[in-house]
Amino acid sequence: MPSSRSSSRILIVGGGVIGTSIAWHLARRGAAVTLLEQRGLASAASGSSAGGVRQQGRDLRELPLAIASIARWKDLEAELAADIHYRREGHIQVTEREDDIPRMREAIARQQEVGLDIQLVEGDDLRVLVPGITPNAVAGTYTASDGHANPILTTHAFAAAAARHGARIVLDTAVTGIVRSGGQITGVETSSGPFACDWLVLAAGAWSTGLARTLDVDLPISPMGLQMMATTTMPLALAQVVGALNRHLSLKQIPSGNYVIGGGWPGDPDLATNLATPRLESILGSMDHSSAIFPALRGAKLERVWVGIEGETIDQVPILGPVPGIANLSLATGFTGHGFALSPIVGQLLSELILDGTPSIPLDALTFSRFAEGSAPDLPQARIHAG
């Protein structure tokens, strides 16, 4: 059916940064797209993301996508005709232990092999690069092309651009069931009535599991609450995104002067209410780790703590592409707290998959089939939560 694909009705479930990016990439090529969102745009994980746009430290299975995505980020503001606060000022992952340096060199070599421009920065060079870093930091792995952006503005910009190209963005509409006829999906039932479709894309984050279950598809995704914090505004002093080995930390300063601090500290999610509750231990731990690495934060004031509800896959990388046995279903879900940076490339690859039949970067390592019986999914590597 490739020849008729561009005229087919494509339905996307999920109004986060992934769903809206897919909508934009399909709509710009003239496809008939409708996006269904149960609440508002960026109302779950995308609205809580710390906004890291990072390649380094990623699982090697998704690193090629991250590198290709960063190339897209460079021109994304022009492409979407929107200010999304993109800052490309580098990401550095520091350590306070000399013992870590050999391990860091190995990680650099592995990532360079895949094509990432990453280097080790040591001693005084580190302090010149990041003047506010703790004197205890001995080295860091640095990627100059990493950075950060505003996830809410980005989600809205994708949706607005898609709408300008004819996509329908339908909010306040929860999908309650998926209508299937044999190996083909024909539409969905929603709180606002039925929608027919020729192709369905599931990009519903932590809510994807429940939707897939109505198709007897068991996605290994569970809800995860990730805590973020923001300080009150302070003088601009940090350009890069900073992480640290042996710590739970992702630190950046946004253009308004607030520091935004994450790093994988847990909160308690509730899917029924889309509310998530922070934990005092996580707040205190995050204050401790962040100010240990960036001592100026000892003088900061904590302004706000929030918890995003993310879909976490069992092996920590997203599930992208087809589902065996269902001809017209695509998945783009389970980003496990690090999907924001991938959003441009995921939108592009999913649009290629749906309209052309083949994505320009192979998705084999990230498809649902990796969980099939007999195949052994890779165990999660040491991971960085940088949003």
Binding site: E96, D172, M287, K301, L302
Partner: protein, 422 residues
């Protein structure tokens, strides 16, 4: 988290109690006494230096007034309420603000607190928590309200307590009726004068170069030194909402309000809301409510489904108490400098709910987290569409209720580093 990480807060002073009362106004004091009488260990916490709540600022009856202007007055009611705690073994933590309540498994809470007098962080572990945080002033946007010299009622009362102004200070008063009585009395006993009064907020403009110099209405400008807005108070149950209690919209005030039973029980077992924060009006009724809720908190009440509060009348039209401002140049958020025009533009551009508007325009993103501005935004949305779902008007309050300094909550970094590495 591993055990070494979860013990990262070991350096913070931890207090343990059975019933924690947040707020030492009439409702909090009555709750504390009732819970103690019922046999529970009780701790009462307030950010003020002494108990009494807003009674501490209240101007006493006229026959108690001194003859000369004084910056400090005492209310007999406040004294008697506070003295009730004397002679009990109820633990008191004054100068201490509870900034977050974190449910920690069934029947257990951990509160984050900050002792401003000693500049240190505190954790309080409790079996039940009673939120008795009272009310805050209603503040509604008026042109020029960002200028120095603009006060709401309690801001003025507190400032007059701190410092006696020059005699003859000229005030403009926005408001009428009973809500203005306290302000008028306070201005009088501190030697000031009210030379202008109006309630016609849509036709008022405050002007001045950085600070209040004049107020302008339809009949022209009047030179004044200060402007006071006295529109009464609204409920402040923020801590209970933030802790995760299920809540709905108080349509009149356009703020979130938790579902509670007559005993003050929220949907979180062990978390209670009492007094004026729960919508009870007047100190006297708040005190009586406290007697009931304090006893319930001590004995524990079972979990319950959401119960509509007494103030929700489905027959009444969904109209907030205040009409929205109309002047697009008016600042809705004085901290972040967000205008009505910016908010209307965001709504036109498809912002879906109050959280969307907040994140796009930064309204309510300042240090006060929109305590003043978000009810105005909710009101705007309600006036545009009275059938809008409550959920879209409920901005999620986040801890801390006001900013807290990192350093008060940090372990000694050198020691922490040593522990961390070895």
């Amino acid at each position: 988290m591993s055990s070494s990480e979860s013990s990262s807060a070991a350096h913070i002073d931890t207090h343990e109690t059975e019933v924690l009362i947040v707020g030492a106004g009439p409702a909090g004091i009555a709750s504390a006494l009732a819970a103690r009488s019922a046999g529970a260990r009780v701790m009462i916490v307030d950010e003020a230096p002494e108990p009494g709540g807003h009674l501490r600022w209240e101007v006493p009856d006229f026959d108690e007034l001194p003859l000369a202007p004084v910056p400090l007055w005492r209310s007999a009611l406040s004294e008697s309420a506070a003295s009730e705690l004397d002679g009990t073994d109820i633990d008191r933590l004054m100068n201490t603000a509870v900034w977050g309540i974190f449910p920690n498994g069934p029947g257990h809470f951990i509160a984050g607190a900050y002792d401003a007098a000693n500049d240190r962080g505190i954790r309080i572990s409790a079996r039940a928590v009673v939120v008795a945080t009272g009310t805050r002033d209603r503040a509604w946007p008026v042109r020029g309200w960002e200028l120095d010299g603009f006060f709401t009622e309690r801001q003025l009362l507190q400032s007059l307590h701190r410092e006696l102004p020059p005699l003859g200070k000229r005030y403009a008063l926005i408001g009428d009726g009973k809500a203005t009585e306290q302000v008028k009395a306070a201005i009088m006993i501190t030697g000031g004068q009210v030379i202008f009064q109006s309630v016609d907020i849509n036709h008022l403009r405050i002007e001045g170069d950085g600070r209040v110099e004049r107020i302008v209405d339809r009949s022209g400008p009047v030179d004044v030194d200060a402007v006071v807005m006295a529109f009464g108070q609204r409920i402040d149950p923020t801590l209970a909402v933030q802790a995760g209690a299920q809540h709905t919209l108080h349509v009149g005030e356009a703020v979130p309000t938790p579902f509670i039973t007559p005993d003050g029980a929220t949907t979180i077992p062990g978390l209670f809301l009492v007094g004026e924060a729960a919508g009870v009006q007047s100190a006297r009724w708040a005190y009586q409510h406290g007697e009931r809720v304090g006893a319930a908190a001590a004995r524990g009440v079972p979990a319950h489904e959401p119960v509509e509060g007494i103030w929700i009348d489905p027959e009444k039209p969904r109209r907030p108490f205040f009409p929205p401002p109309r002047d697009r140049a008016i600042l809705i958020d004085r901290e972040e400098g967000v205008t009505l025009g910016q908010i209307e533009d965001a709504i036109e551009a498809g912002a879906w709910d109050i959280n969307d508007i907040r994140r796009i325009t930064r309204v309510g993103m300042g240090e006060s987290q929109g305590a003043e501005s978000l009810p105005v935004v909710a009101t705007l949305l309600l006036w545009r569409d009275s059938a809008i779902a409550d959920e879209r008007l409920l901005a999620r309050p986040r801890p801390p209720v006001r900013p807290i300094p990192f350093h008060a909550f940090l372990p000694d970094q050198a020691e922490a580093l040593a522990n961390h590495i070895h």
